[in-house]
Amino acid sequence: MTAYIIRRLLYLVPIVMGVLLVTFCLFTLVGGDISQQIAGKNADAETIAEIRHEYGFDKPLFLAWDSQFLDHFKKAFTFNFGRALDREKIGEKILRGVGPSLALTVPMFLGTLVISISFSLIVAFLRGTVWDHIIVFLCVAGMSIPYLSFIIFGQYYFAYKLDWFPIFYDPSRPIYLSIILPALIGIVAGLGSSLRFYRTIMLDEIRSDYVRTAFAKGLTSRKVLFKHVLKNAMIPIVTNTVLSIPYLILGSLLLERFFGIPGLGYLMIEAINARDFFVLNAMTFIMALLIAFFTLVTDVCYAWVDPRVKFD
């Protein structure tokens, strides 16, 4: 197991290098020079040249010790991403956004997970009945409605009309008050696809011989579903769950924007709109690291949930 983990960690090195190369090409070569944008609408050539110098855009791209490419590597490996276009430190921006993003996405994720797994067990058990059909219909309907519609309706009806929740994030009040509604909207909007996914997994398991045997032995439904079916369905659940974790940190782009949650989703949208490649670059790199790391965690978890999995 240890050897396997070490081997997988070593695999991360070329992956990270590849990511750095791709982000460099994407943001530096394809993205183009953003010095004019920083210098302002009416800046003269001198000011633009000065900005180019300040941000290192006048350095050689590859073939030099102080090339832009090596700078790019240096910044990534030291986690010192420099300053964003608005001259704020990128590290500070990211750290500030992680908390609010997680405050929104973790309850959303857990809520969706718990509800969809529980309901998927029930509907798998009730497969072919009216309840199964109704739930599948609702899932498909939920999946067909655009995410934005859930947000607009939820905000208008539950926050404005019924006055149950704050319309928008208010820093003078605890953040949990501002995230309840967006989290609920996120759960409802994500439930359709999630429930359908888990229902399919549960159906595969529930049709197995060992389930029939368990019921024949006289075990209770609860015991069969939670002890046997759920345990055997854990591999796809673990894969789906662990690989979702990096995206929790990234936050929810639309929900954060509509409810003013100052998280990383909001930061990403702002950076995209402002063509702030410094921020986008840092976020892409961090995401790549997280995804690579959690892929490894997923593989390790397989052995934990399924004793048949061996690391050779």
Binding site: Q36, K41, A45, T47, E88, Q155, D163, P166, P171, R257
Partner: protein, 612 residues
Amino acid sequence: MNGFIKTYRIVLLFVLCLLTLCIPGCSEKDNGGKSDEMVLRHRMGTKLQTLDAGNMRGVYSMMVGGQIYETLYTFHFLKRPYELIPQLADGMPEISDDHLTYIIRIKKGVLFQDDPCFPNGKGRELKAQDFVYSLKRIANIKYASQNWYSFKDKIVGLDAFREYTKQFKSESEVDYGREVQGVKALDDYMIQIILNKPWPQMIETIFADNMSSPMAKEAVGCYGKDIIRHPVGTGAYRLKTWQRGSYIELVKNENWRGELYPTEGGPGDEEAGYLDDAGKSVPFADRLIWRVIEEDQPAWLLFMRGEIDGMGIPKDNFNEAVKLENREVTDEMKDRGISLKHFDDPSVFWIGFNMQDPILGKNKPLRKALSRAFDREHFIDLFLNGRGHVAHGFVAPGLDSYDPEIKKYGYSKYDLQQAGQLLEEAKKIHGGPIPKLTLAMPGTDTFSKQYGQFIQRQFQKIEIELEVNYMDWPTYMAELNKGQLQLFSSGVSASYPDAIDFLTLFGTKYFAPGGNKFFYSNPDFDALLEKAEVMFPASERLELYRTMERMVMEDYPAVFTSHRISYILHHSWYKNYKPHVFSYGLSKYRNIDLADRNGYKRKLKALKKKDQ
């Protein structure tokens, strides 16, 4: 299984009960603090970039920065036409006979706000040297201020100072003690400015603009690059909280010297209640709050809930707020006590032609045909909800030199028949059919796309094919400045009440990256511009401005489309909300009727009952 489902139902019921109990406690009670505290609450449509005065250019930076920093001069809050008055200056400047030397005295006893950058944290007195330092800082190339273009070639010795700064590696290494002949502190309270040539708009351009607000050298030294979020000013308010990207809060600056609300205003101000507070001490509000709300829906809902005091009208809510037939607020708004203000924004928008383009530049009939084919009134109705005037020229209404007779010249006439005839002429000049033209739109949002398609349809009416490229802003700007765009959608708003701001857009010496993005060049116009730029306000100048405007219009360097009319809604408790298009530091004059505001929730409940 039945037992299993039963257990589940119980759990679900429990969760629902818990939610029902929690939910009423989640709603917003009041975010304006205590009910007896006077708080102004605003929306900010995009995040604030900087609070470093020397590099401020965006509207939102000015809106917030204008409360923290002060300028030597400002525009009177109420009087129209706009009148310059001293703010930090002690009287109007003394100007030499040759209009080259300005002596400006500054008020004594003005203090910077308290800040840890000062000894013992106590704000020191403002001195003339602070202004000199702030201007030199903008000239410092290592600082790379966005505002340098306003100063270039204008002040004796300042360009040389900029050259001198090139040798250093960073902003802080520069010796600000180095003498600049044109910017001097004659003593602690007297500034001398010497110009290269007369500059009649200098006070409006520089000394009534936040960019020239005095910065304390100690603050810049103390905070370095982080000065963008540590503003240290002399204004009525100081920064308390800035949660970047979401929330800004200012509180009263205890060191502010105080001021009285104006006792004189413009015509109709007394009847409108703008003089109700005449002679009272300002500022009225204890705190100023801006919430960054980029989406229109939450901003609109917060406004309707009474949690934002005033805001512009989102396009999608226009019909809900304003009756189209008489441009008054709807009954629903009236019931809520919401009022509407509209005023001419000194702006002009256009579809510009690149005059260096081989197809457009040498073909005036083609440019004229495109102008004739564009239905401006339809555009204003469709895209601006009627919130605009047809642009018959490019000088915006509301400015002194706006020519009320400009319409009669017919530059913006919508005439498809004439457009067709002109196109035939254009084809002869071109030597065949006009090839497909390309228009650049500075955005990829829905508005840009709809507008791009609208322009396409307009030109199709005379069988001109148009390809539209939707670009992000930086790419658009880069290509525009390099003269790589054939047609482009753009616009500009005057930053001070003088049409020279618009006229310079067509001077050869202002070719992009300067203001002339059309690359329009007309030696006769240039000669008049040289003359106009050094002329002080007089009837002769007015005539000259109008002649120059017509000269440009005759050449059709653009399809000038509209001048914007701004519409603002505000609640009944928001007092002294007189629109002002050139000054930003006006929050100190705004007042709140607390009883009215505190009764708004009751009003909403009563309206709800009435609806039921």
